[in-house]
């Protein structure tokens, strides 16, 4: 395991832990952004450049800003509560059990056991992805377009102010 991978993995997981454990919601969102950037760098390290840049554009650029907006919009009425979590130990226990199960499956898997000879990082051109999106993956692309339109309209309708006097 090389150093860059270790650093990236540590930063990503550490930021995720901080995002889930900190008390201030704004700090949580900032650490979420750090974790998402770390994930984008992991994608780049894996050779999936397009996914890495999409991750930066969509998650860091759009979703993080959206979450910050939601945090600021929902801040007003909340009194700062003493407890930030319900039954934190049982939740952590469940998560630890899930991780133990996953880690056991990963470490015990025979097909992952033999370390494959380090293949060169595959070059995946954006042209190939574009041809895939307009060729074999055109139906999922259309469905995602429809889903995004529906989600946008739905988001506007749900968040619209309720009519006065209803």
């Amino acid at each position: 395991m090389d150093l860059i991978l270790a650093l990236l993995a540590g930063a990503t997981v550490g930021a995720a832990v901080a995002a889930m454990a900190l008390r201030d919601v704004v700090h949580c969102v900032l650490f979420l952004t750090v974790s998402l950037i770390g994930l984008a760098l992991l994608y780049l390290k894996l050779g999936a450049e397009f996914v890495g840049f999409v991750q930066v554009l969509v998650y860091v650029g759009a979703v993080a800003v959206l979450v910050v907006f939601a945090v600021l919009l929902t801040r007003g009425g909340d009194a700062p509560t003493e407890r930030i979590a319900n039954a934190p130990w049982s939740g952590a226990l469940v998560a630890a059990a899930v991780f133990a199960m996953l880690a056991r499956a990963i470490l015990g898997s025979p097909s992952l056991g033999s370390p494959s000879p380090e293949t060169p990082v595959p070059t995946l051109s954006v042209k190939a992805i574009g041809e895939g999106l307009t060729g074999g993956y055109v139906l999922p692309l259309q469905i995602v377009a429809l889903l995004l339109t529906a989600a946008m309209i739905g988001g506007v309708v749900i968040a619209m102010r309720e009519k006065e006097g209803e």
Binding site: V13, L42, L102, L112, S116
Partner: protein, 100 residues
């Protein structure tokens, strides 16, 4: 390969712990986003170490999952804002009535 899978499993567990225990609805959504990202990391890692990386399935899965996660975040945050307007709180425990 195993390192990526372990990182992904760790991220998933962290997101699960947060989604299960936190009281702020926004942080619950953040936990769900972390779990989705863990799945994406698995997709890309398996694509990278597949027999033929020219087959685009893993990358396409990740890209579409990112798009769907963006849609999910939009609707989820709109719901949080609507709930906050109604209950004057972003706390998931306060929104326990199904009747408005």
């Amino acid at each position: 390969m195993k390192t990526y899978l372990l990182v992904s499993a760790l991220l998933f567990s962290v997101g699960l712990a947060g989604a299960l225990t936190r009281r702020n609805a926004i942080i619950v959504l953040v936990g769900v986003e972390l779990m989705l990202n863990a799945a994406n990391l698995n997709f890309v890692a398996f694509w990278r170490h597949s027999a033929d990386p020219r087959v685009l399935d893993g990358v396409m899965f990740a890209v579409f999952a990112i798009a769907v996660a963006a849609a999910e975040a939009t609707v989820g945050l709109a719901l949080v804002i609507a709930i906050h307007r109604h209950f004057k709180s972003a706390n998931v425990d306060d929104a326990s009535r199904m009747k408005g």
